[in-house]
Amino acid sequence: MAGATHQRIGILGAARDAVKTALLALGLSVPIVLLRTDQDFSNQLILEPRVGLTLSLVAIAFVARFVWLLIADWHKSRPARATRVPILAGMSVSPEAARRFAVGGLIFLFAYPALALALVGPAGSIKWIDNFGIQILIYVMLGWGLNIVVGLAGLLDLGYVAFYAVGAYSYALLASNDVVKDFMAELIGPAFWPAWAFWICLPVAGILAAFWGIILGFPVLRLRGDYLAIVTLAFGEIIRMVLINWVDVTGGYAGISGIPRPSFFGLPFTASDTGFAATFGIEFTPLHRTIFLFYLILVLALLTNAVTLRLRRLPVGRAWEALREDEIACRSLGINTTNTKLTAFAIGAGFGGFAGAFFAARQNFISPESFTFLESAVILAIVVLGGMGSQIGVAIAAIAMIGGTELLRELDWLKHIFGADFDPTQYRMLLFGLAMVMIMIWRPRGLIANRQPTLFLTSRRAISGDLVKEGHG
C-alpha cells in the first residue's frame, strides 16, 4: 500500500476496496460468528443464527477500511516532509522532558487519592483508588522488577510470576502462622505480632523471593535465548504446581484466606479504640486502609525505581547492561558473568517478592489462580511494550495495559449493542494482542526505545534504540 506509487485512489476507489474487505469479513464471519451451537430446553443441540452481530462486524470492517484508505489518501496528497524521524528509533525523549514528566507524574500520584475523593466522593473513590491506583501500581512495580532482568541484563524470564507467588505465599504463611505468632507473643508480647507482622514479613518475603531467584539462576546460567526462556517458563509452572499440590501447607486450589492486613505502623485499620481512626480522632471508614495501601505500593514502587536507577550507575548495573550487549566481551574484561546474572535474577526476584507480599496483604486471600503464566506474560508484555530498560516507558505501558483492562469493566453500555451476555473483559487478551501487534509495527523497540547513558564526559545524549541490543538470554 505504501508503495512507490503516489496515485490517489479517491472516495470511489476506497469504497470499492472497503466493499471487498467487508465481503472478506463476511466470509470469515459466517463460519465463525454467524452460527452458534446451543442447547434448547429439551437438551437438543440447536443452531442459533447471530445475524445482527455478524452484520455489525462486517459494517465495522467496511467503515474501518474505508476510513483507513481515505486517511492514507489524504497523507499521500500532502507534500512529503523533508526530514522524517525514522520510526524504528522509537520515541525520542530528551532528559529534561523525561524529568518534567516524572515530576508531574509524581505530583499527580501523590495527589491521586485526594483527587479521586474530591471528584467522585468516598463511595465512588474506592474503585478508583483500589482497582485503578493500587492495581496499576502493583504492575508498575512488577514491571520495574522484571525490567532489571529482561531490560537491563537482557535475560528473557518467562517465569517472573513465580517470584511474585513466592513473595505472596511467604507473607501469607508467615503472617498467619500460629507458631510464629505464639513465639512472638512469648518473646515480646501478645500485641506485637498482630500489629507488626506485615512490616516484618514484607522484607522477609522479598529476601525469600530473591533467594529463589538465585536458586533459579544457578541451573539456567549456561542457557541462553530460547532455552533460558523455556526453563524460566517451566520454573514458573513448577512453583504453581507445588502451590496447588502441597495442600497441607498452601491449601491447594482453596488457597490461603484470612491473611493479616497491614497496619499503620502498628495501628490497625479497625473501628476499635486502638485503631488508626480512633488514635487520630477521625471517623472510621474502610477508605483509610485503601488510601494507606495506595501510598504503600506507591512508595514500594518508587523504592524499586530508585534502587534500579542507582544500581544502573554502579558497576553492577553497568555490568548488567554490558552483559546484555556482549557477554563474551564482558568475560574478556574480567567480569564474572555468573555473579552478574545471579545478582540480576536475585534483585529482580526480590522486588517481585515485595510486590507479592503486598498483593497478599491487600487481597487478604491468595490462591494459585493469581499466579498463572498469563501473569508472567502480562508483566513481560509491559516491559517489552514500554521499551526494555526504560523506567518511564514501563510505567506508561503498565498504566495502558492494566488501566485498559480495568476500563473494559466500565464498558457496560456495549451490552446495548452486542446483547446482554456480552462481557467486554473477555476481550482483554484480544486487545492485548492487538496492542502488541501495533506496537511492534510502529515502535518495534517499545514505547521509549532510547537508552540514557549512566555517565558522561561533556553532555548526556540519549542513545538510539537501534544500537542497543536486546540481549540473547
Binding site: 534502587v307 542507582r310 544500581l311 554502579l314 558497576p315 553492577v316 553497568r318 555490568a319 547492561e321 554490558a322 546484555r324 550487549e325 556482549d326 563474551i328 566481551a329 564482558c330 568475560r331 574478556s332 574484561l333 574480567g334 567480569i335 564474572n336 558473568t337 545478582t343 537508552r451 547513558p453 549512566t454 555517565l455 558522561f456 564526559l457 561533556t458 553532555s459 548526556r460 545524549r461 542513545i463 538510539s464 544500537l467 542497543v468 541490543k469
Partner: protein, 302 residues
Amino acid sequence: MRWETAPLLEIEHLTMRFGGLVAVNDVSFGAGRGDITAIIGPNGAGKTTVFNCITGFYKPTSGRMVMSHAGNADAEQVAALTRSDARFVRHGANTLFLLERMPDYEIAAKARVARTFQNIRLFTGMTTLENLIVAQHNTLMSASGWTVLGLIGLPRYARAEQAAIERARYWLDLIGLTARADDPAGSLPYGDQRRLEIVRAMCSDPLLLCLDEPAAGLNPRESAELGKLLKTIQREHGTSILLIEHDMSVVMEISDHVIVLEYGIKISDGSPEHVRNDPKVIAAYLGVEDEEVAAVERGELP
C-alpha cells in the same frame, strides 16, 4: 631474545583438539616481558585457537601455560604449582599463574591478560566512555563495596568513579576520541571502533594484551597509526603485547618476536629478520612446488 631470557608467558606443548581435528598441535613458545610478539600464519593455522586457549575461552586438551607476573618463574615453583591443585600461587612479589586451569574472566581479572576480538566486540549501545568504565569493573566493584556501600552513596565510590573517568579520558585523548566520548560506541567509524576496543582492553590494566587481528579492515594510514599506538602502549606502560596479524607491514614494523604457525604446528620462531628469511615461512606463505617443500624439509635448500 627476551622471550628466552625473560618470558612473561611461557606456553609449553599446547594442544587443542576439536573431536578428530587437531587445531593446535604441541606448540611451545614464550612471550617476552615488554615485547611485542606476533603470531602469524595462513588462514586456519590455529592462531585464534591459541589465543582462545591463552585467554581461557577454550580449555586446551593438553599443555601448560605459565604466566609469571614479576620476574622469571622459578622452575621448582612452577613444578610445585603444577603438582598442586591451585590455579595460582604467590611467592613474595611474584605470582605464578597456570592459565589452563583458570576460567576466562579470572584470567582477565587476576592474571591480567586482556584481549580484543577478530570481529569487534564493543558494547555498541553504551557510550564510548561507558565502554571504558565497564572495563574497570573490578576496581570499581571493590570501591563500591560490592554494590552495598555504593548503594548508600559513600564518597569513596564517587572518588573511584572519578578516577576511572580520568583514566578513560587519558586513553581517549591518546586515540583522539575524547570528543566522541558521549556518543554510542556503535556509531563510531570502523577504525575508531578497533582502536577503542584496544584501549578498552588497556583500561582493565593488563600485563599482557592479546590482539586478534587489530589491523584487519584498516587502510594503510590507519594501520600505521595502529602501529604507533601499540608502540606507545609498549613503551609507556610496559605492557607486553601478543598479536595475531596478517598485515606484514605492521608485523615487521613493530614486532620484537614473530611466531609462525601452519596447520597447528609452529614452523618458525624468532626475530622478524629471522622469520622473514626462513625458507619454511616463505614456502608456507608463497607456496612452492612439492619437490621444493620436500627439499626444504630435508634441509637441502637454504
